[in-house]
Symmetry: C2
Subunit: 142 residues, 2 copies
DNA sequence: AACGTTATGTAATATTATATCATGGAGAAG
DNA sequence: CTTCTCCATGATATAATATTACATAACGTT
């Protein structure tokens, strides 16, 4: 949170109350939060409650690398490595819905190496894996 | 299409008129089609037009490996390698929206090798890259 | 003070997806 | 051959996600 503030100062970005609150909410969770869940939490915290409030804050956070969208879930998580250029991959537990971010082991170059893809200039890659986390796997085995 | 029919016969799957039509529609396009676009096309072809019609057919096609959902686009494409176990990756042109399927160069093992992910048992991975295809890249340069 | 830029307020609506319950049709079991 | 069961479809409603559009405000610059 502190580092987010510093980063914004340095890059002349405005970490406004709504944006700040959304980031806090995301940081408190290890699961992905839907835009409307966030909207509810914002409302509870005294913010206005129309959808654009949440979507604008989320857009800001995603654009500036403070959060990621998990496409499979239509939901959002705080970035675990804000301010750094990275190509993230996500692990989603289908049981407890926890989301873990990891560094993608695959560079764009890797993907480009496959034959029929040489016809593309890749700009951004998303990787999302679904499975079960260790704790849930143990429970399943009982 | 023929092979899809054969595959269904072999696996006792029912390639009903609606499912068949949706598959045909997807095969005709190299872009991803949204469920409601498909629904419109179905209607034009004389099918009933409630959302579940399209979603059920799409679910069937996806479950049985005839199609994939592109999460980034909330849209669907025909599978280029139906009937085979594969771990696909998609290239989406942000300009013309063409979608190309390629074989993922990354096995689950690869991803699992990254440290903080060893705590997951991965069951399915999606990879979607956005960029520009060659033809659009050329046009952009003008 | 006037202006431009960025962010917020507000209403309405578009898009994507699912739940639920009723109906029909084809093959298996009796 | 008929009853049962399973699977697919028909139909209505509604949920969940996301965006458009236009108005207002806040703030620094000229």
């Amino acid at each position: 949170m502190q580092s987010a503030q510093d980063y914004c100062k340095e890059h002349k970005l405005q970490l406004t109350p709504a944006r700040r609150k959304v980031l806090e909410l995301l940081l408190q969770e290890h699961r992905a939060l839907g835009a409307y869940t966030i909207l509810d939490l914002l409302r509870e915290a005294g913010f206005k409650s129309q959808p654009p409030i949440a979507y604008r804050a989320l857009d800001f956070l995603v654009e500036n690398g403070f959060a990621h969208k998990i496409e499979r879930l239509n939901a959002f998580v705080a970035c675990s490595l804000p301010g750094t250029k990275h190509s993230p991959a996500f692990m989603i537990c289908r049981q407890c819905e926890i989301v873990a971010e990891t560094q993608s082991p695959m560079s764009n170059l890797n993907l480009s190496a496959t034959a029929d893809v040489s016809a593309f200039r890749i700009e951004q890659t998303i990787i999302e894996a679904k499975g079960v986390c260790n704790s849930c796997a143990e429970i399943e085995q009982l």
